[in-house]
Subunit: 179 residues, 2 copies
């Protein structure tokens, strides 16, 4: 498959990692092996240990992931990224870097939309609870902003559609742009 | 070409970047296009801004580069790294990561050997002069240790041999391990 970056952005617990892993499996099943999943939490360990959650640190984290994506894209490897990436400017910077390496259509932004109430209900790691009690500062959706995408290639709504439905809608777009 | 990482380690001004760029060009001339140069200085900008030169920060920097190398190796892309990487343990950690991704023979350590007197004479960016005047702390070769490789796959001596001679000796080993 033509190299591209599928960038999943959304609130914590919106379902980004779930979709990233399902997308990865679906692509493997289609025989696509030039794919790497870059999960925000994992990447924080390897690339961004020591960075916090200030605006500047968040931007740095996103740019580092983006830098890896553009290297991979340049060499024909697809990246699937799951990262809150709350700021429009940061996402756009990454888009520019990747498209510079892979050409137009090589960056597919997916807004993983889910209302904050539903995210709080899921609260997989109990982070929202801590944020709501004020034990974590600068938590996106509670005490830090999330800038909704204006021009995402795909918007999926994980509070109303099944993960497999979301994945098939994302793959439709991916298959179209990589034709 | 089978993916591998060519890791050039040595003192500042020993000639790592020169050799990395020459290696890159030679491989391109051989028709090998799945190659990426990761130069220590460039990587510090994209992956390791904010890190200093303490032992811990140096190790973190090297591990980040190594993490990128193993992702690239895994997907069939060769990396050429030019980084002082003064500590044996850090280099061995990277070797383990890359070989885990690419199998035995996928990590070629090249010791770019050059006496510190000759490096001081070259002093491309005037950094040795500053370090000798005490204006830079923890400068490898002056006020910070360089642990010489014990089992490098290749040792080149840039004070006695020409860059093209060094490159051809490195490529000999590379071609042997990628057969």
């Amino acid at each position: 498959m033509k190299a591209l970056t599928i960038w999943l952005t959304g609130l914590p617990c919106s379902g980004k990692t779930t979709l990233a892993n399902l997308l990865f499996r679906s692509l493997l099943e289609q025989g696509v092996t030039n794919v790497e999943v870059l999960d925000g939490d994992v990447v924080r360990t390897h690339l961004s240990k020591g960075l916090g959650f200030s605006r500047a640190d968040r931007d740095t984290n996103i740019l580092r992931i983006g830098w890896v994506c553009q290297v991979l894209t340049k060499h024909g490897v697809c990246s699937i990224v799951a990262a809150v990436s709350p700021f429009r400017a940061g996402r756009n910077d990454v888009r520019a870097m990747v498209e510079k390496a892979g050409g137009p259509g090589s960056f597919v932004e997916v807004w993983v939309r889910c209302g904050v109430e539903e995210c709080i209900r899921r609260d997989v790691k109990g982070m929202y609870a801590k944020a709501l009690r004020g034990e974590i500062q600068q938590f996106t959706g509670v005490s830090d902003p999330y800038e909704e995408p204006l021009d995402a290639e795909v918007v999926v709504d994980t509070s109303t559609e099944s993960p497999s439905k979301s994945v098939s809608r994302i793959l439709e777009v991916v298959n179209r742009v990589t034709q």
